[in-house]
Symmetry: C2
Subunit: 630 residues, 2 copies
C-alpha cells in the first residue's frame, strides 16, 4: 500500500469535514516533540493540537515524560470508521495518524488511561510508525466481572456479586452495566476461575448465560418481502423473533439473583465475565492500523480495550516485539476481543516475545476476505457483497493486485484470477470492482473473490498465549507461517487452521505452515470436543484445502486425548513431538483418539513419543489406508 | 455558500472512500437523460450509475417516463451524514447530488416508492437544482397506525387493532413494529380522529402513551464522574434510570391490549399513531439540502418520510411552489417529523401554494443555531460545544460571516460580533472556531455564538397548514418574514415565535414579521393552555427579544379564548383582525382572555372585531399600563 494520502486536498471549512480529515506530513526536517505531565488530566486536546499542525510542522518523534496520562473523548478527533471484525464506530482519538511517515511515539514508561469510546492509536495511510514503552488501559472497562456467590438448584437461580467498580442498573428485570459514555447488558459471557486466573474448566457446561429466547407473538412478518439477500445477523434482523430470557433481581447492594438460566448453574467462587451483545461490544480497539506500510510496537502493554488489542487491515510489515496483552487491577479480562488480528496484510507480520493473556478472543487471526459476486455489470466489472456486517466497506486490495475467483463447492483454490483496476465503494455492503482484464466466461453470480496477494509471511515466536477465551492462533495464510517456541494454554484450539467461508467470510487456506518447538498445555479445556491443533473447512467436502504443513518437536501436555484433527490436508509431517497426559483436569472426552485424519493425503508420522491415554492413538478414514502413527 | 466542491480530488480507490464521495459537474455541454419504466423494479442502480458518471459526462436534466419507480437501499450510495434536527444516519440514496449545478429532475408525474432507510434527494454543495412533478412515498412507513377498538376503565387497559400493513412482534411484553430494514416501538404517540382526519381533540389528556417510567434499582452510578458536560438527552444517558412502563398482550390476531397506561384511556374509534423513540425516529427525510445555493421544488408531493419532508441547512434561495406534504393510502400521517425545516438558510426562502397536512411535527421551522463557548483557545479562536445531539457537526457559517456573541441572561441580542475565519470540526459536539479579529475581553466561557447572517427573507403564502401534530410555523428569523393568505388548523400554536435557547439551541429572535390575511381555525385544540400566535422565550426575563411585528386582517375562528400571547416584544401592531368563536369543540380554558401581554412595549391594537367569549379580552402586566384592546 502506498503512502499517498487521499486526504491532502481537503479544505478546512467544508460542510462535510466530519466525514474525513487528514494530517499528512512529509519526512524531512521533522520536529521532536516532548509532552510533560502538565497535560495529564486530559492529554487529548494538547496532543491533537500538535497532530493538527503536523502538515505544516512535521513531527519525527513524540515523547512523553513518564507519568499517567488521561485521555477523554470530549475534545478528541472523531470520524465515522469501519473497522474489520469490529462494529462500525464513530472513532474518537487523540492520535489520528492519517498519512504520517517516519514517526516514533515513545511513552518512556508512561501509562495512558482512556475514558469511554476511544481508539488510542488510529493509524491509516501511513509509513514506518513506531510505538514504544507505553501501557494502555481504560478507566472503566467495556466488560464487567462478578463473583458467583451462591446457586440454588431447587429454584434454578444463581447469585453474582459485583464490586463498586461495576455500576449497574436493573431495567425491566434486565441487568445493565453502566460505564462512562457506554453501557452493556449481560450478552456474551463466560466463567473465569480466579485461582487459575484462566477460563474455568468445562465452562461450556455453564456458559454462555442464556440471555435470549424465542419470542412467542409475531404478526404479519411474512408481509415483509426483501428484494435482495439480507444478513440475518445484521443489527436489525438478528433481534426479530427473540426476547430476553433471564430475570434479574437485586437481593442486596451489589448482589443480583439470576433466574431462568438454562445451562448448569455456575459454581460458587467462579468469576462471571460479560461484555454485552455481540453486535455492539467491539468498538474501541487499542490500535487500529489500516493501509500502512511499516509498523513497529516495542514494549507496549495493552491492559484492556473494548475490542481488539490491535487490528491491522491492508497493511504491510508489522513487527510486534514485546506486545503484551494482559489485564490490570486484578481483573480477569484484558481486551474484550482478540489480542491481535490481521486482515489482508502482506510483507512480514511478526509477533515475537509477546504476551497474549486473558483476552476474550483469539491471540491472533490472520486471514483475507471473501466477497460474493452478486452482479456481473460489464465485461470487466462486477458488483460484490460483503457477507459479514463487520467487513462492511473493506477494500479487497489495491490496483494490480491478483484477485482469485473462487467457487468453494468445486475447489478451495481459485479457478481463475484477474488483476484489480479499481474499487468503488457504493455502500458498506456493496462495491463495484473493476479489473484490468475481461471477466472469464466461467464467472457466475454466487462465486467469491479473494485477494491472492493479501497474505503475509507470518512469524509467531516466543509468545505466551494463555488464559484467554477462544483460540490461540487462527491461521488462514497460504503464504508462509512459522510458529515456534511458544507456550499455549487456551480454552479452545491452540491453533485453528480453517476455511471460514460461511459465516465470517474470512479467506485463506493455509499452506507452508511450520509449527515447531512449542508447548501445548491443557488447551481445549472448556468442553468442546475438538483437537488442540485443528484443520477444518466450513464447506464440508473432501477437497484439499491445506498444503505443506510441518508439526515438529512440540510438547503436548494435555489433560484430554484429542491433540490433532487433520482434514482436507495434502502434505503434513508430524515428527518428533512428545505427547503426555497432564492429569490437570478430568478427561472430558476419553473416547477420543489422539489424532483424527480425514480427506487428506501425504500425511507422515515420524519419531513421536506418545505417553497419553488414547486408544487408539490414530483414527482415520479411507483416504490414507496405510497411515500409521509412529 | 460557494459551489466549490470539496470532493474533487479524491481518488476512487482509497481505504476511506466510504467516508465521502463527490460527483461534481460543471454547467456546460450537459446531457439530458431520460429514464424509462424498465428500471422501475429497482431504479437505484441505474440512476446511481448515471450520477457516478456526471463528473465526466455532466447532466442538465433527468426526466422519468411517467410511472411508479421503486428504490431499494441495497445498491444505493451510502455515506455517514449528520443532518440537523435528525439523527446521524448512514444516508443511503440513489441521488447523491454532491456538487451539482444547473440540474432539473422532472418526474413527469411519476411516483417514487422507497424501501427502508433511504434519503430520496441528498443535495449538498450544489447550485440551482430543480425537482418537479414527482410524488415521494415509502412502501412501508416509518410509523404505525392502529384503531382503538376497546377500553376498560376497571382494569385500566385499552385495545388497539393494527391492520396487516403493520407487522408487529411482542418482545418481553413490549410492542415492536417490524418494517423493511427497520423497526420501532411505541415511543412517541398521539391520537388522530379519523372522522376529522386530524389530531384528536384534547389528545393531551390521553397521549402520549406512557411508555417509560423510572426504574428502581441503580447501584454505584455515582461512581461515574464525567470530566466535561454531558447531554442528559444523548442516546447513552437518556435511558439511565428508566425502563418500560407498559405491558402488551395480543388478545387476537392484529389486536393487542395495553396495560398500565397512566393518562386517560384513549376513546374507541380514535387512531393511535406511534413512531418509536425520539432519538431513533428521524432518519430518512425526503429532501436533505445542505450548502446549496438555489433550490426549486415545483409540484412535488411527499406522502411520507421517516423524518422531515425537507430539511435545508446553510443554503440559500430555496423556493417551494406547490410542495405538498400529505398522506397516502388512507393513512393519518404523512411525514413523521416537520414538513419543512430551514437552519442557517439565507437569501430567499419561499413556501407558496403548499400543503402541509398530517405531518407529525411543524409545517416549518426557520432558525439558526446557538453554540456554547467552552474554551478560549487563543487570541482569536474558541472551542464551541453543540448543545443538542441533532446539531452535531453543524458548521455555524462560512468564512467572513458575522458571528454574534450572545449572553442571554443579559440580552437576547448579541453584545459584540466577530467575523468567521475558519471552523475545524474536531468531533460532532466540539469545534474550533477561528475569527478574523481578536476576541473581545468581554467574551466568557458559557457565552453563545450565533450567525447573524444565516437567516432568510421568508415568505409563507397561500399554504394549507392543518391536520398535523405540533405547530404550524416556528419563526426564529430576525430578517424579514411575511406570512399571508394561509389557512391554519393545528393542534398546537399556529405560529410560534420563540427564543429556543435551553433545549434545542435554535437561535434567532424574530423581527420584521408580518402576519396578514390568514385564517386561523380551531388551532391549539389538543389541550395545551397556550395562544394561537405566541411569542415566548426560554430564558424567563423581561428583556426585549422580538421587534417590529404586524398582525393584520386575519380571521381567528377558534373554539377557545386565547388567541395571542405577547411577551418580550417591542413594537407590535394588531389591526383589522376578526375574532369569532367557532363552537367546534368545548372550550378547554374558558377562563382565559383572548390576548395576554407581558414584558413588552409599543404594542398597538386597532380596528379589530371581537365576537368571542373571553372576559376580559386583554390581560396585561404593568409593562404597558395604558394598553387597551380596540
Amino acid at each position: 500500500m502506498k503512502n499517498t494520502s487521499p486526504y491532502k486536498n481537503l479544505i478546512a471549512l467544508t460542510l462535510c469535514l466530519v466525514g474525513i480529515m487528514g494530517f499528512s506530513q512529509s519526512a524531512s526536517l521533522n520536529e521532536k516533540v516532548l509532552f510533560k505531565t502538565d497535560i495529564a488530566d486530559d492529554a487529548t486536546p494538547a496532543l491533537l493540537a500538535r497532530i493538527r499542525q503536523a502538515k505544516d510542522h512535521p513531527i519525527s518523534q513524540i515523547k512523553f515524560e513518564k507519568g499517567t496520562y488521561h485521555f477523554y473523548p470530549d475534545k478528541a478527533f472523531e470520524r465515522f470508521t469501519r473497522i474489520s471484525n469490529h462494529d462500525d464506530v464513530m472513532a474518537k482519538t487523540a492520535l489520528p495518524l492519517l498519512g504520517f511517515k517516519d514517526l516514533v511515539i515513545d511513552g518512556q514508561g508512561s501509562t495512558f488511561i482512556y475514558h469511554g469510546r476511544m481508539i488510542p492509536f488510529l493509524i491509516e495511510g501511513s509509513e514506518n510508525i513506531t510505538v514504544q514503552n507505553v501501557t494502555i488501559d481504560w478507566a472503566m472497562p467495556f466488560h464487567s466481572e462478578g463473583t458467583i456467590v451462591a446457586n440454588d438448584e431447587k429454584n434454578n437461580t444463581f447469585d453474582i456479586h459485583f464490586s463498586d467498580e461495576y455500576p449497574y442498573e436493573i431495567r425491566n428485570e434486565q441487568l445493565i452495566f453502566l460505564k462512562e459514555y457506554y453501557e452493556h447488558d449481560l450478552g456474551q459471557s463466560i466463567l473465569y476461575d480466579p485461582i487459575r486466573n484462566a477460563i474455568a474448566f468445562d465452562t461450556e457446561a455453564y456458559t454462555p448465560i442464556t440471555t435470549i429466547r424465542n419470542s412467542k407473538t409475531q404478526r404479519n412478518f411474512d408481509k415483509i418481502k426483501y428484494k435482495y439477500k439480507v444478513d440475518p445477523r445484521s443489527k436489525v434482523e438478528k433481534v426479530r423473533g427473540k426476547e430476553d430470557n433471564l430475570r434479574v433481581k437485586e437481593i442486596k447492594p451489589g448482589t443480583v439473583r439470576i433466574y431462568n438460566h438454562r445451562k448448569k448453574l455456575p459454581p460458587v467462587g467462579m468469576i462471571l465475565v460479560c461484555k454485552g451483545d455481540q453486535s455492539l461490544n467491539r468498538l474501541a480497539p487499542a490500535f487500529r492500523i489500516s493501509g500502512t506500510d511499516g509498523f513497529n510496537a516495542n514494549n507496549v502493554t495493552v491492559n484492556h480495550a473494548g475490542g481488539m488489542g490491535l487490528i491491522a487491515e491492508n497493511s504491510s510489515d508489522l513487527i510486534l516485539d514485546g506486545f503484551h496483552v494482559k489485564p490490570s487491577h486484578g481483573r480477569m479480562v484484558s481486551t474484550s476481543a482478540d489480542a491481535t488480528h490481521f486482515v489482508g496484510c502482506r510483507g512480514k507480520v511478526v509477533l515475537k516475545n509477546c504476551t497474549f493473556n486473558n483476552q476474550l478472543d483469539d491471540a491472533t487471526n490472520v486471514h483475507g476476505t471473501y466477497q460474493e459476486v452478486v452482479d456481473i455489470l460489464s465485461e470487466n466489472s462486477i458488483g460484490v457483497r460483503m457477507g459479514h456486517a463487520q467487513q462492511q466497506g473493506f477494500p479487497i486490495g489495491t490496483p494490480n493486485d491478483t484477485i482469485g475467483l473462487v467457487r468453494l463447492s468445486d475447489s478451495f483454490f481459485a479457478y481463475d484470477h484477474l488483476t484489480l483496476k479499481a474499487i468503488e465503494n457504493i455502500n458498506g455492503r456493496y462495491q463495484i470492482v473493476t479489473f484490468n482484464e475481461k471477466l472469464p466466461a466461467t464467472l457466475k453470480v454466487g462465486d467469491l473473490i479473494e485477494n491472492l496477494e493479501g497474505y503475509p509471511d507470518l512469524l509467531v515466536q516466543n509468545c505466551n498465549i494463555s488464559r484467554n477465551r477462544a483460540r490461540g492462533l487462527l491461521i488462514s495464510n497460504p503464504k508462509n507461517t512459522l510458529i515456534e517456541n511458544n507456550f499455549f494454554s487456551t480454552e479452545m484450539e491452540a491453533i485453528l487452521v480453517p476455511v471460514e467461508s460461511s459465516h465470517w467470510f474470512e479467506s485463506g487456506n493455509a499452506a507452508n505452515l511450520v509449527i515447531r518447538n512449542n508447548t501445548f498445555q491443557d488447551n481445549q479445556h472448556s468442553g468442546f470436543n475438538r483437537g488442540v491443533i485443528r484443520f477444518v473447512t466450513d464447506d464440508d467436502n473432501d477437497n484439499i484445502a491445506f498444503k505443506n504443513i510441518e508439526i515438529t518437536n512440540n510438547t503436548f501436555n494435555q489433560f484430554d486425548n484429542l491433540i490433532l484433527e487433520i482434514s482436507n490436508v495434502d502434505g503434513l509431517l508430524f515428527e518428533g513431538n512428545k505427547i503426555t497426559n497432564s492429569g490437570t483436569f478430568p478427561m472430558l472426552h476419553p473416547e477420543n483418539p489422539a489424532i483424527k485424519v480425514k480427506a487428506s493425503k501425504n500425511i507422515v508420522f515420524k519419531k513421536n513419543g506418545y505417553k497419553g491415554k488414547a486408544k487408539p492413538i490414530l483414527e482415520k478414514d479411507e483416504s490414507q489406508p496405510k497411515l500409521k502413527f509412529k
